[in-house]
Amino acid sequence: MTNCQQASDTRGLRPNLAVEIAGIKLKNPVMPASGTFGYGEEYAPFLDLNNLGAIVTKGLSLRPKAGNPTPRIAETTSGMLNAIGLQNVGVDDFIKYKLPFLREINTPTIVNFFGNTLEEYGEVARRLSDIPEVAGVELNISCPNVKQGGIVFGTDPKAAAEVVTLVRRNLDKPLIVKLTPNVTDITVVARAVAEAGADAISCINTLTGMAVDVRTRRPRLANRTGGLSGPAIRPIAVRLVHQVVQAVQIPVIGIGGIARAEDALEFLIVGATAVQVGTANFVDPSAMQTIIDDLEQFCVKEGIGDIHELIGSLKL
């Protein structure tokens, strides 16, 4: 950080890291991935939340949700499997008990949410639409760990379009749709949600995986399968973001195994406007601060004045 500031001082200005996603102004392109950062307050002791591009909440549903039986997590090589099952406090308790904390932070709050049914998606959207502190929403149609609540909508382009259309109608806010990689061709779903009115796409959610305890011969997760995240999935995520960026006109937020600034840069270069950091928050609770600092330092070293010079700059 010190080096970086000195370097930028000699050039007279610091690189501009600010980006905009569907009208949401971000100080920099770095934000947490839903489900890895609680409701923000859990990480307040470890980094200044005011420095983040945005805060993305744990996925919310109409009513509180219990989640899956345990064990819910298992570590695998360069990653982890999770099957939390979307445990959350519910949208009303979020607004009542969790949002007041976020209101005091000078960083846009993006609320991730899902529904068990089409109607529930619509209802949660309606309840969030009136809340001024919610800068935008991220629609989860991609959780692999519960039958309802996502993936049934996210793997079928028609169903995906239907839920996006409904939410769009009920919501007067920027709408980001989070896509699953567990499909044959992600660009088909990406085009479908873009045409249905999504303002941005975030991808990817976790890849469905499984691990077995060879001694007990049982699955290591009670849910049998779970979502794989962490550095293990990054090359797959970069490829999918690259494909989605080419398929749609709306901004894309890249997610998948980002732990360092270089990882984030890969996504930006293939065309993501911003990135989300997930599993890395568990390993290092201040990972996002380090990534932001190192992004700035990279720009200084490379003589880049604005992060937009990097976004979509892939040479083919």
């Binding site: 219990a66 819910r72 990972a287």
Partner: protein, 285 residues
């Protein structure tokens, strides 16, 4: 609660497969409460490996390097090598850089001074009981019932004795102390001291047995749980256990990391604790 970039002071095998690591720990030494834990970052170079939770065994002060400087705080963890993470840890040396997040979680409630206290430790489960014992001996008599499979699983007993704790050792194979389960000793002690409070940490079958014994006698029980964790701060919801009164319609999950790892026995849904819990018996990963 902070993330400390710090270093290893020593790391020694104290019994086959069990290690004691001393880490320089500014602040944690004086702020940690008995029963709290740390998240230890095993690997600094690669960002992929999750942290491992470890109960704090004890904290203390080292003499300063030279006159006039404040004493340096340290903390100690005891751990069993059970997998890749703890395997890497066992090869760390004095001076190696490590990262420690803590102190985390809710610790033990010391209870009423003067009352009889019985601590029950199974294997590596004795770790969080040492700091507790150091505090409890100041106000009353403390007994430690320590169980393990063999003599190799019985750790740090002399250190408890040095505190003035009366210790009773039992092993499954009789290789040290009495032959049999630690819970048999507990029953005898509770016959003698029916008004004692019990504090326990160890493998799930032991905790379940201790819970049944204490519930039948109306003896207050606090237990420290071990769980698979990713974050340690209440964000990932990976380490939850079912609380008392839990049902599908009215879910009551408690985070082991934030609402625990120490729970009063009546906070938990014991009927399904053992069958579903992701206890790792010293972190299997």
């Amino acid at each position: 609660m902070k993330n400390y970039k710090t270093m290893v002071l020593s790391n020694q095998e104290i019994s086959p497969g069990y290690y004691r690591m001393r880490i320089l720990a500014p602040d944690i030494g004086t702020t940690a409460r008995p029963g709290q834990f740390i998240m230890f970052r095993v690997q600094m170079s690669m960002p992929s490996m999750l942290r491992r939770p470890f109960g704090i065994f004890r904290t203390g002060f080292l003499a300063p390097d030279c006159v006039g400087l404040p004493p340096r705080e340290y903390l100690e963890i005891l751990y069993k090598v059970v997998g890749q993470g703890t395997g890497i840890m066992s090869e760390l040396h004095a001076g190696d850089r490590v990262e420690v997040l803590g102190p985390l979680g809710k610790g033990f409630d010391p209870g009423n001074p003067g009352e009889e206290k019985i601590l029950v430790g199974g294997g590596i489960g004795l770790v969080p009981l040492f700091m507790l014992a150091s505090e409890l001996v100041k106000t009353g008599s403390v007994r430690l019932l320590m169980g393990g499979r063999t003599r190799d699983d019985i750790l740090a007993v002399t250190e408890f004795e040095r505190l003035g704790v009366e210790t009773y050792v039992s092993t499954d194979d009789g290789s040290l102390g009495e032959e049999g389960l630690v819970t048999q000793v507990l029953v005898r002690k509770l016959d003698k001291y029916p008004h004692a409070s019990v504090y326990a940490c160890g493998p799930m079958p032991m905790l379940e047995a201790v819970q049944l014994i204490c519930a039948a006698r109306n003896v207050p029980l606090q237990i420290s749980l071990e769980a698979l964790m990713a974050c340690g701060v209440g964000a990932c919801l990976g380490c939850v256990v079912k609380g008392a009164g839990h049902s599908e319609q009215n879910p009551r999950y408690l985070c082991s990391c934030k609402e625990g790892p120490v729970f009063r026995s009546e906070q938990l849904d014991w009927s399904r604790l053992g069958e579903e819990a992701g206890y790792c018996e010293g972190c299997k990963i």
